[in-house]
């Protein structure tokens, strides 16, 4: 039986984990960072060499527009800062809704279980862009609460649009984590006269918590990398601002690679330490359990 290696089994297990979690794991290593930097430096160098001398050079242009791409005009939080804002709030709402939905998926009540399963599957299998469009176009631009009118800016709508797929995937992570515990845990708790609610909160969830952290962080990175989609809806985040900056410089062809690579690079620089941290945590948990 052991001919087809443990590796094959491991691979299948990993594929099944990724299938459950709904995304690949960002398995970043230090040399990947070096690669990204090399690609960037090389391209910038090439663009710099090709640029006509009488115009502002690509590096100078990038330096000039960097603050604009990173946070927009002085005193505003647009550009890349807005990407981060969207990712924070989408993760927050997505997690709260997702954990709730996930717990509903293990409910003893059949309609709750089936209903929440359906919602989870629906949002998990819809393309992000479709969800984003739906919220952008169908969500009201202001909400009336009593006599108060709360405006909902575009970026806030984007938050909701991104929170939905995150919710569905976190829901599945929760369900998977609970299901991965041996049934003996439920049985022994039951034999000690714990109620179902007590079992869940005092015995099951604390054990699942650690298992859920690495996929949760991973989902955050995936989400952060999806936020550029909001530029399609005219949200003033980094991709929109990069396009604007290049436009202001007359859309010169040698600027394009430099600016786009810079954009790719800031997302990488942001997710890299987070993904590394997640890998460290995962290793730590594996050793302990």
């Amino acid at each position: 039986m052991d001919v087809l290696l443990p590796i094959a089994r491991q691979q299948k297990a990993q594929a099944m984990t990724e299938r459950l979690e709904g995304t690949f794991r960002l398995n970043l290593q230090p040399h990947h960072a070096i690669w990204m930097l090399l690609i960037f430096v090389f391209t910038v160098g090439a663009a710099q060499a090709q640029a006509p001398r009488e115009l502002i050079s690509p590096i100078d242009a990038l330096v000039k527009w960097m603050p604009f791409i990173l946070w927009g005009q002085e005193g505003t939080l647009n550009g890349f800062a807005l990407n981060l804002m969207i990712s924070f709030f989408a993760m927050l709402f997505g997690t709260i809704a997702g954990v709730t939905l996930g717990l509903m998926q293990i409910s003893l009540l059949l309609p709750v279980r089936k209903g929440s399963w359906f919602v989870t599957q629906f949002f998990r299998n819809s393309p992000w862009l479709v969800l984003l469009f739906t919220i952008m176009l169908l969500f009201p631009f202001e909400i009336e609460l009593g006599n108060m009118i709360i405006p909902v800016p575009d970026w806030m709508k984007a938050v909701i649009g991104f929170a939905l797929p995150v919710m569905a995937n976190i829901s599945e992570v929760v369900r998977g984590a609970v299901r991965s515990l041996p049934t003996g845990q439920w049985e022994s708790a039951e034999s000690l006269a714990f109620s179902r609610r007590q079992t869940l909160w005092m015995i099951i969830l604390p054990q699942c918590f650690k298992r859920m952290i690495p996929p949760w962080i991973n989902w955050y990175c995936i989400l952060a990398m999806a936020t550029p989609l909001a530029s399609i809806m005219g949200v003033e985040e980094s991709v929109s601002y990069t396009a604007q900056a290049m436009n202001a410089e007359g859309d010169r062809p040698e600027l394009l690679p430099v600016f786009y690579l810079f954009l790719l690079l800031i997302f990488f620089v942001y997710t890299y330490p987070i993904a590394r941290w997640s890998i460290r945590l995962e290793k730590k948990f594996v050793v302990k359990t």
Binding site: M1, D2, V3, L4
Partner: protein, 256 residues
């Protein structure tokens, strides 16, 4: 079993079928075999025993050219294995091998495992291979398991499929590399019986084994290796009773 067509290189059945002379083999700086010589006549069954790490497995893997050698000579029916221009297919038609971990192809059924090599490598006729394979299945007593996949068979059954798979190539020599070491005690016997029958039919066999009782029963000659050399050898009767070397004595006292 030897067919007349295979007597190449001026070899006659009166000469040793396998002859190893002053074989040296090292992995990097580690010298595993330090000058081993032995001869196996046609129809003989020899067992190689010894503590683990003494180079037994390496020795028989060299016979099949799975490991290359640094110095010395191995001749199988006159075919020099240590020849850089060796036709490996020619060698492997003569030599069948069975591994400790069976190494069956898990995506093929038992009968497909047996039939694959004769069809794809030897380009033999499918129907004839099928007929031969059926008789081999009967020989290793696996009727009814032809269409099972390796993963659905017990270790002993898998190992018998592996023996049949090697026999399907019509080899003149069979190498057995600790074939029972990975098996459950209950299934060891069924594999040993199969090997014993083969030996009694006159198949030339080289076994690396830890089964002393079995070695005593089937072997015509026993070789004891330790730290890369053959320490002592002889027919089972004299070997087990009158071992002279202290290393042999110690090994036998631990294992018997």
């Amino acid at each position: 079993m030897a067919s007349p067509g295979k007597k190449a290189n001026g070899w006659t059945p009166k000469q040793p079928m396998v002859s190893i002379k002053d074989l040296h083999k090292s992995f990097g700086d580690l010298e595993v075999l330090k000058g081993v010589s032995l001869e196996v006549m046609k129809g003989e069954c020899i067992c190689i025993i010894g503590p683990s790490g003494s180079g037994k497995s390496t020795l028989i893997r060299c016979v099949n050219a799975l490991n290359d050698i640094q110095k010395g000579s191995i001749k199988v029916e006159g075919l020099e294995v240590n020849d850089p221009n060796l036709d490996k297919l020619e060698l492997r038609k003569k030599v069948g091998m069975v591994f400790q971990q069976y190494n069956l192809f898990p995506h093929k059924t038992a009968i497909e495992n047996i039939m694959m090599a004769p069809i794809t490598v030897l380009k033999q006729d499918k129907d004839e291979v099928a007929k031969h394979a059926k008789s081999l299945v009967r020989k290793v007593r696996l009727e009814g398991k032809e269409d099972s996949y390796p993963g659905e068979l017990s270790g002993g059954q898998q190992q018998r499929v592996a023996i049949a798979r090697a026999l399907a190539m019509n080899p003149d020599v069979m190498l057995f590399d600790e074939v029972t070491a990975a098996l459950d005690p209950e299934t060891v016997k069924e594999v040993l019986v199969t090997i014993q029958e083969l030996a009694e039919e006159g198949m030339t066999c080289i076994l690396v084994t830890h089964e002393m009782g079995f070695a005593k029963e089937v072997a015509d000659h026993i070789y004891f290796t330790d730290r890369g050399v053959i320490v002592e050898h002889g027919p089972p009767k004299t070997f087990f009773k009158k071992a002279k070397d202290p290393r042999t004595k110690e090994f036998l006292s631990q294992i018997l």
